[in-house]
């Protein structure tokens, strides 16, 4: 009845649990609510550990029926719990200072999830084992469910947990009213098209637009009638600006048009989504689910039990129905004629663009900061991808071109010895600027930089591209590890030069270059993170387009041929020297482009920002996302750069959580999260197009 690996596998989980217990994971987050007054993060981690034990045990006896699975799950869960109970006994018996001496993080067990509210060790231990058996049994039961139900269940729980953990950061993004309006428009348009069908693509679009107009009128009227500028359900309880629903109240023609436009757009998206490929289709549904969940979250001060249930239902339904809908939509998409497909895809991209443009005021400065950082890494990742993903060149000194771009733009735009020698020295500046109220502004008037950001930017891109190519020359014959080591050297040399006192007048030594003016658009200074966001967005979009085009061009093929087999590529007539140098140049130019923007957005550069770690991070995100594809870089940057920022809620444990995440990801998806798909070129051939047109 008990599988022969059951105990062993559960014991492995138990060992991990011991470590987690002494790292104080089960006590540290006792204050941190996932669901208010109901479930803390510590409890969550505790139950997750027991559950894992149950699943691992049940998986050891697959295919032997529900009863055996539940039994083994119970045994596994109980074993892990028993091991944790031993920890409790140990802590009870050994003086606290002794444990604290070894495990610096450790705190007393009072209030820990391990005590389960008991004051004494023995009852707590017994309770632990009982809970372990119950949780393990549940795990054993779930492990026997069909895979699709399991996925739905885990996805839903994960979504609720993520929202619960992050609620402090995300509870003011969208009001319930806005969320309902948007998602209902999408949903109704989707269902309308599904129910009514469509004869032509035009009909499809008209249905979507019609639903959009109808819901704009409906929600507009509803919003003005309920007087929703006051505290109502639609308004939400926070001091949010419910932008969508405020517009009809404002009442002038332009805002009315914008207001209607938003609804029409989401109506169109709902209609078009019925005929889109899997990723584009699913993105719509998940976006709506998240919006709705955020709206629900915003309607109260914290995520309490009823709200958690609502969010659970939202995600449960979404995860349950989307796969089926997705298959259907993809089938319709594939059967559509090419022009209609293109139109529908464009509608999708317009919606995405509008969402991206509208989102910054909603998300607030801290999320925008995170997003900007992610986008910097996306830009670098896109460039790095040219090197490692396409050309197969491993460049560990990649940060050098990032620094070169940043310093070039910084020195050209900031007050420096180039424009007014002597003044830049801080002490001089203060004496000189006695009369001015604001020293920085004053300095910029007395001693402006050589040029504006917009003039310096192309120069920075050019300079970093060129130096990248120059660094490529001496390493032309090196491959793989050797190239990595040499480029790593380049990166380190550059950093030493930047810090060195020899070049201090120009590069500022360890202080770097300060007082870099922010980019301006006319009179508008792009100073705040929600404003610089747009600049980053532009660059990311531009970079993605350029690299996608290059990848499918003659040069891109040459790069990939080079990566697969350099000798054969040469025998096919490819000048490998030129191809490699262009890879160095293009990727460095991207990196420099990001660097210049980085310096300007922070209004200062410090040599410490350009360490080897940056290169390694960029490399990791490219590998994690899936080498050789642009979507992979996006996902990789979000996971690798965005996640640690968001995981700040986990305090000291964030790097641990992050590391575990990386290991699990690479074990389960060794090709990365989104490995590139081979292009379907034959569909683009003239013969195929004619055949398709003939049908």
């Amino acid at each position: 009845m008990i599988g022969k690996n059951t105990l062993r596998n559960a014991a492995y989980v138990g060992v991990v649990a011991i470590l987690l217990a002494f790292m104080d994971v089960y006590s540290s987050f006792g204050e941190k609510d996932v669901i208010a007054d109901f479930f803390t993060l510590s409890q969550l981690l505790f139950y997750a550990t027991l559950f894992t034990g149950g699943v691992v045990a049940a998986r050891s006896v697959t295919g032997r029926g529900l009863g055996v699975s539940v039994l083994n799950g119970m045994v596994g869960g109980a074993l892990v719990a028993a091991i944790l109970a031993l920890v409790v006994a140990f802590v009870d018996a050994v003086p606290f200072e002794g444990i604290r001496f070894v495990f610096a993080n450790f705190s007393p067990l009072e209030g820990s999830a391990l005590m389960q509210g008991q004051a004494d060790a023995l009852p707590a231990m017994i309770l632990l084992v009982v809970i372990g058996a119950v949780v393990g049994g549940i795990a054993g039961f779930i492990a026997q469910l069909p895979l699709r139900i399991q996925n739905t269940l885990f996805g839903t729980v994960a979504a609720v947990v993520i929202i619960g953990v992050l609620q402090g950061q995300i509870n003011r993004i969208v009001t319930l009213g806005d969320a309902l309006a948007i998602s209902l428009t999408f949903f109704v348009a989707y269902m309308a098209v599904k129910a009514l069908g469509f004869k032509s693509n035009l009909e499809l679009l008209l249905t979507g637009a019609g639903v959009g107009v109808a819901s704009a009128i409906l929600f507009g009227v509803a919003a003005s009638m309920t007087g929703m500028e006051r505290d109502t359900l639609l308004r939400g309880s926070q001091q949010l600006e419910p932008i969508l629903l405020m517009l009809p109240v404002v009442g002038d023609l332009l805002s009315l048009l914008v207001f209607g436009g938003v609804f029409v757009l989401f109506g169109l998206y709902g209609a078009v989504a019925t005929t889109l490929g899997r990723q584009m289709h699913d993105a719509g549904w998940y976006f709506m689910a998240v919006t709705l969940a955020l709206g629900v979250l915003a309607s109260a001060r914290a995520l309490d039990v009823p709200l958690a249930l609502v969010i659970f239902v939202i995600f449960g339904l979404t995860f349950a129905i989307v796969p089926t809908l997705s298959v259907r939509a993809t089938a319709i998409y594939e059967s559509l004629p090419r022009p209609a497909r293109t139109v529908n895809r464009r509608v999708f991209f317009v919606v995405v663009l509008v969402i991206l443009l509208v989102v910054p005021p909603f998300m607030g400065a801290s999320l925008a900061n995170t997003l900007n950082l992610v986008m910097i890494y996306i830009i670098m990742g896109v460039g790095m991808n040219v090197m490692i993903g396409y050309a197969g060149l491993l460049d560990l000194g990649y940060v050098a071109s990032f620094a070169i771009g940043a310093y070039t733009a910084g020195i050209l735009t900031a007050p420096s010895i180039l424009t007014c020698p002597g003044v830049v020295d801080q002490a001089d500046a203060f004496n000189l600027l006695r009369g001015y109220e604001d020293t920085v502004l004053g300095l910029q008037q007395v001693c402006p930089g050589l040029m504006t950001f917009w003039q310096a930017w192309p120069i920075a891109i050019f300079v970093s591209g060129l130096t990248g190519m120059m660094l490529g020359v001496p390493v032309m014959r090196l491959r793989g590890d050797y190239l990595a080591i040499v480029t790593l050297g380049f990166g380190e040399i550059l950093q030493r030069i930047l810090i060195s006192s020899t070049f201090k007048p120009l590069f500022g030594g360890p202080q770097g270059v300060g007082r870099i003016p922010v980019p301006t658009l006319g009179d508008i200074e792009l100073a705040r993170s929600t404003e610089v966001y747009y600049l980053f967005l532009l660059v990311v979009a531009l970079g993605a387009v350029v690299v996608l085009r290059l990848a499918s061009s003659r040069l891109g093929r040459a790069w990939r041929a080079l990566r697969d087999d350099e000798d054969v590529a040469e025998a096919m007539g490819i000048n490998t020297t030129v191809a490699k140098l262009l890879a160095f140049g293009v990727s460095s130019a991207f990196s420099g482009m990001g660097g210049a923007l980085f310096g300007a957005s922070l209004q200062g550069i410090f040599p410490n920002s350009f360490t080897l770690l940056v290169s390694i991070n960029v490399l990791s995100l490219v590998i994690l996302g899936g080498m050789g594809g642009i979507p992979g870089v996006f996902i990789g940057a979000f996971v690798l750069v965005g996640m640690p920022e968001i995981l700040r809620e986990l305090r000291d444990y964030r790097l641990l959580a992050f590391g575990v995440l990386l290991v699990v990801t690479m074990l389960m998806r060794p090709d990365g999260l989104l490995p590139p798909q081979p292009p379907k070129l034959s569909e683009q051939s003239t013969a195929h197009k004619q055949a398709a047109a003939g049908d």
Partner: protein, 272 residues
């Protein structure tokens, strides 16, 4: 060999050494335009090394390789490919993570003119060129019997198809001279037969000159105008298939001296 064809490839005294080993030792070899010429010899005779000297992967220490009247000695591999020499490999060397069509398109590299900026800006001329190249590649795919396999990754193709794709990629270079390094290695008799017909068809349709290394004697004898034999880095014989089969040096190279003594074996070579 009654009417002497124009000489396309002329290798004179080619020597390639690796340390103390002379892998190719003073080999003279001529290939006339429109001929199918084979190079045979026991394993380790230096055949592939000789190919590598022609295609620029190795630079011969001595001697000269003249193609179309121009010396190619010391030229880079891509220059030699541009001059009109394409090759396939003994152990298939496709770009494994590229699709079949992309492999062929890589072969067309030198015939495409678009530069980086054309691609970035999406210039109409670049698009037209890409479209034309793609259509040509589709045609080549069909010609080599790979219809419908265009979007498959090269590494996912069955073995026989991979061999054909290598030929298709080499043809995309639009070569005058095609070097085939053991085109039927690992093939069953039926596939070998198909390959033999395909090689003949190539010459007929495309007016190609073909120089091939091969171990399958049936194919060599069936398809070649002339056969060259190498052993221990030296060329030991040259002639029509019949002449070579009768050559005692060749028989000795393949079967060892004692065997020659016993049988004088004229027809023995056929079975090797």
């Amino acid at each position: 060999m009654s009417n002497q064809p124009e000489i396309l490839l002329n290798c004179a005294g080619v020597i390639k050494r690796f340390g103390g080993l002379t892998a190719v030792n003073a080999v003279d070899l001529k290939v006339g335009r429109g001929e199918i010429v084979s190079l045979i010899g026991p394993n380790g005779a230096g055949k592939t090394t000789f190919f590598n000297c022609i295609t620029g992967f190795y630079t011969p220490e001595e001697g000269d390789v003249v193609f179309n009247g121009k010396s190619l000695k010391g030229a880079r591999a891509d220059i030699i490919a541009r001059a009109g020499i394409a090759r396939t490999y003994q152990n298939i060397r496709l770009f494994s993570k590229l699709t079949a069509l992309e492999n062929i398109l890589v072969g067309m590299h030198q015939h495409l003119k678009a530069n980086m900026w054309g691609a970035i800006l999406g210039l109409p001329s670049t698009r037209r060129e890409e479209q034309r190249a793609l259509d040509d590649a589709m045609e080549l795919l069909d010609y080599c019997g790979l219809t419908g396999k265009g979007d498959t990754l090269a590494s996912n193709l069955p073995y026989g198809y991979q061999r054909r794709l290598e030929v298709a990629r080499a043809l995309a270079i639009r070569p005058q001279l095609l070097l085939l390094d053991e085109p039927t290695a690992g093939m069953n008799p039926q596939e070998t037969d198909d390959m033999m017909h395909f090689i003949r068809k190539l010459r007929g349709d495309l007016n190609l000159t073909i120089f091939l290394i091969e171990h399958d004697m049936k194919l060599v004898m069936g398809v070649s105008d002339r056969v060259n034999v190498m052993n221990f880095g030296r060329k030991i014989a040259e002639g029509t298939p019949a002449e070579v089969q009768a050559n005692p040096d060749v028989i000795e190279a393949y079967l060892g001296s004692s065997m020659t003594d016993k049988s004088g074996g004229k027809q023995k070579v056929e079975g090797v």
